[in-house]
Symmetry: C2
Subunit: 324 residues, 2 copies
Amino acid sequence: MPGDTRRLGEFELIAELFAPLAAPGGFGLTDDAAIITPPVGSDVVMTKDMMVSGVHFLPDDPPDLVARKLLRVNLSDLAAMGAAPHGYALGLSLPPEVGDDWLRAFAAGLAADQREFGIALLGGDTTSTPGPLTLSLTAFGFARQGRLLRRSGAHPGDAVFVTGTIGDAALGLMALRGALADPDGFLAGRYRLPRPRLAAGAALAGIASAGLDISDGLVADLGHLCSASRVGAVIEAALVPLSSQARRSIGHRPALIGAVLAGGDDYELVFSVPPDAAGALERGILGAGVAATRVGRIVAGEGVRVLDATGVDITPENPGFRHR
Amino acid sequence: MPGDTRRLGEFELIAELFAPLAAPGGFGLTDDAAIITPPVGSDVVMTKDMMVSGVHFLPDDPPDLVARKLLRVNLSDLAAMGAAPHGYALGLSLPPEVGDDWLRAFAAGLAADQREFGIALLGGDTTSTPGPLTLSLTAFGFARQGRLLRRSGAHPGDAVFVTGTIGDAALGLMALRGALADPDGFLAGRYRLPRPRLAAGAALAGIASAGLDISDGLVADLGHLCSASRVGAVIEAALVPLSSQARRSIGHRPALIGAVLAGGDDYELVFSVPPDAAGALERGILGAGVAATRVGRIVAGEGVRVLDATGVDITPENPGFRHR
């Protein structure tokens, strides 16, 4: 990893780079713990994701983008529950080759996203490791009691919607590996810097019957919703919303539709809505600055099937990335 | 690390080993996030610690003890703030050589301590890693608003107390390395399985002016209290409470007093109390099943000095372990 050899000790590192990011409840990161005070009538919503160098990002990825992706995949989990973000705790296991320059750029990425999402650092831990750089982030949000968006709750007859466009991140990863043209860098950008759908998630918490974010792939994540709800689902491939860049790629190589349906890392939301709410959503009532598109329906049974425009089953055989 | 090669995938691992540990707010670990609802008038207290194989524990340490130490060092941070434990989130970065047997024993250790401390699992993440096994734990507790025990708040004239006995863990680590006799295994046990002083921390939240837990060593951690409170402190070495096992070791090798004063991992509490409360504490008013012993006093200025029984300054030159 580029950057100076580390010179700062743990305490200097915290004081110089991370204390300026601290929330009031983080006590300037000088205490053993932090406090979180939800508004009256709200619960604390908590989620945790880890990222390992060489597994979830590349050692030469820009450190500020690594920081922002780490934050955003966690914020996406809060969005999936309909929670408003509040703050986060950060764990860093640092190998010797990660220098102060890398850490400064990483902290600058956190600072940029703290401003964008109105959150701050509450605490954490730094340790040394002989192995790869390992990042752990626990994010906290607030949700009104009884208004949580869950994976369970979908019923046969509900419509299935997604936010935004699907498949850009999977195509972007192919582009970053040189396997696809990406002239304006849009697809790679969608892979590198997810946009957590916080406003949409909050708006859906009172409307959707079930929902989650798309990290493993549309088919796999809708499958998780179906398992938790004990239902099945049918996706009409022709309805899946594509960016113009993704549409151009698939125009050249139609087999890429498999990557769109099974590829992960979009961090859009997939959710089910009762039939009487579906019409309002299709007329744009969500109004959270992001399109919601109907892509299919919940059915009795189990599993997710994908049909093409002629009704032929084109369900991918390997429906989504299984993280380990 | 001993154990079968892993056969369980991420989802099976969660379903078989970790879902049985889940708290109600963890939704059986099937959702994207968990909820935490503090009692009315209480805040959520949050702390996070990581442990890396080969840095914080040894690859052949018993997995159940690794799990319990990971939990307990975090519970000790909650104790240091005077918070009552509620639950935790767990992050695991698993290298290929960590097998299902290791993970089953690890989960059994978590289950044992969940029963002992009345806590449960709220969520987490598992990832693969090519590097060492890396564990990340975020613990949550509740504290009555305005009753938090902080590092700042000590004043000149306050008495300095510790709970329990000091130095056992540092001597225990020496014993585990074969550098010290430990006939009954007491010292090694104190290193391997800390006892978070939760009842004492809760009782002190209304009495102590400042406090924290001893993870880096008595002198170093009292130094943290002094920095946060902008005061100094004097410790009288002859007052530092020792177990009979530690006293026997030091009787043979008086130089070990340095390891007692500067060694980490005791997870006792060090705290300051105003003069009018010190007498009551010395008469055993803390009453939380653990002794509190006066070891010195807060003074104006900065830094921690240690004096022997004749008043000679014997402050260790390297006051405490600096984690990286």
